[in-house]
Assembly symmetry: C2
């Protein structure tokens, strides 16, 4: 445990604790020679101020929390990197919490964050969050909250998202133009607003091109990879199987590849595949996967930037400042 503190420096230098404290914060109340002496000794003794004492006194922890459903996923990993980059620049520390897509865990994390442990929170909802009281409470306690990607519409907080509706539309359109006439959509938790938007993009895309909507073509996937595998397998085994698949998240696209391999279906001949994904290996897959890729790193940076704007400005900011970054369609062999 750290043991060199202000008192020791003060004693050594024959000045008061307050003088040392102020000298270190480069206050104008302290003469230059004194500051010099303090700086030197602090450096020599490798003094590191106790952050907990400081936080307690200042009601400010210079720490933020990042709450995400999972991390073993390029999207969230890159977002973390973006957040950490900005946080480091600003001299903030980053606590990380994984909810594992569990609303209960998310709630308990959020509740524990009410303690004032962090100055602000960046969050991406779990797939099963319906009750958002824990998030409202955070706001009520004046702890700024910024959403990214999996945002919550029913709460007034800044958010950073991609153009999910348009992306869903574009993905569907792309498949239709590639000749698909039975397009399936692999959706995730319909609790999430991004799911709705992607789905709406899908249905509107179908409508726009006068394609019939068949709700047998919408597969609602869950957390369990095994279950999803079965559902996708069932979908692709059926006599009227789709000739195009739009996967709303990366892991589902990957599963489609596995299923096709097992069933001996050829991508893209038998079925074309497009998916939301940030896989670095998308272009190396067999066949290369057409993706809608989100600017994860920039989203993280943006979310952090917005949060710090709130933390640092004294004047009131509008309750919302949303940022919508465009996702990018990268056409590859899986849809050609």
């Amino acid at each position: 445990m750290n043991t060199v503190n202000l008192k020791q420096l003060a004693k050594e230098l024959n000045v008061s604790v307050s003088t040392v404290s102020r000298a270190l914060r480069d206050s104008w109340e302290i003469s230059t020679p004194t500051k010099q002496r303090v700086f030197e000794l602090a450096k020599k003794m490798n003094f590191q101020p106790n952050p907990y004492a400081s936080s307690l006194r200042k009601h400010r922890s210079r720490t933020i929390a990042v709450v995400i459903p999972e991390v073993a996923n390029n999207f969230f990993a890159l977002a973390i990197k973006g957040i950490e980059t900005i946080a480091r620049e600003k001299g903030y520390h980053v606590l990380i919490y994984l909810t594992n897509e569990d609303a209960g865990e998310e709630m308990s994390v959020a509740t524990s964050l009410q303690s004032g442990r962090v100055d602000g929170v960046i969050l991406s909802l779990s797939g099963h969050t319906t009750d958002i009281r824990h998030l409202v409470e955070l706001q009520q306690r004046n702890i700024p909250l910024v959403f990214f990607d999996r945002v919550c519409d029913s709460i007034g907080a800044p958010r950073v998202v991609t153009n999910d509706y348009e992306s869903g539309f574009v993905a569907t359109e792309h498949l239709i133009r590639a000749g698909c006439r039975r397009i399936a959509h692999l959706a995730i938790s319909m609790e999430l607003s991004i799911s709705h938007k992607r789905m709406k993009g899908y249905t509107d895309g179908l409508r726009r091109y006068d394609q019939p909507f068949d709700d047998g073509m919408v597969v609602h996937c869950e957390d369990s990879d095994e279950e999803n595998y079965k559902k996708i397998r069932a979908l692709l085994s059926s006599p009227d199987r789709p000739d195009g698949i739009f996967a709303s998240v990366e892991k589902l696209a990957v599963q489609v590849y596995h299923v096709c391999r097992e069933l001996g279906l050829d991508i893209p001949r038998d079925v074309k595949v497009i998916g939301f994904s940030n896989l670095v290996t998308a272009s190396l897959l067999n066949p290369a996967l057409t993706t809608i890729s989100q600017p994860a790193y920039d989203m993280g940076k943006e979310a952090a930037t917005i949060l710090f704007r709130r933390l640092e400005k004294k004047y009131i900011l509008p309750p919302e400042d949303s940022v919508i970054l465009p996702a990018k369609l990268e056409v590859r062999s899986s849809t050609i």
Copy 2:
């Protein structure tokens, strides 16, 4: 900011602050009815103890730091997940710091951690760390340090690694048995002990099978993806190009795929490829990539477990307790 505190609870209940504090910690010194009353009010007022006050008083933050070179990488992402899982179980919080493979950033992080902000540190070295004074200093301040994967041999600290030497040997052996006669090794920073071990496995593998060692076949890669690309391209463009490649990290294996595609080289016919990797899509690549995969999640869990053992036991533990988890060779088409 949180504003309900012990004093308020105490006033409301007409007891002293100490009583409330003790009641909440379920002390035997407090009568059951009093505890009941305290618990109820605390719940009703949604009391969350101020962690900073507590940490200051107890010299214990219930927080650990995870310091890693990067996060947008399945290995480290999974390790984080393992660490976070154990930390959550133990009621600890996890701070994350990315060094971006920069020794300077690693040093500044480690130095700032001397403040007592965390109770312990789990670290994987940056690729350029040579000076380890900042880590020694941490230990001297009694902040337990546990290494994982990229460990530091010259410092007495517990470590969690895979059998890198054996893996290097096995990878090389596998290529030789597959018929390769000119095997290249794509190495990373030779500052790292894992690099040495993997390399030693490689050279010993060659020797064991009476293959000549050609140091033109060892490519020392850096951080810059462009530079690496050029080096790999040069390697594969040369007239006496290798017929087998052993990549010591995932991103290099991926680069090999890109280069081969560009040069029109067929994997595995022209060149066979094996690499350390935790890619979930390894089996879906074109061709499927033979990997040495490390049990990243378990390594994270193990590292955290060791750290908490140190944090929680009162009695002295041996300075070292290393864990070596086996990596796994997964043979796929890229070496067949």
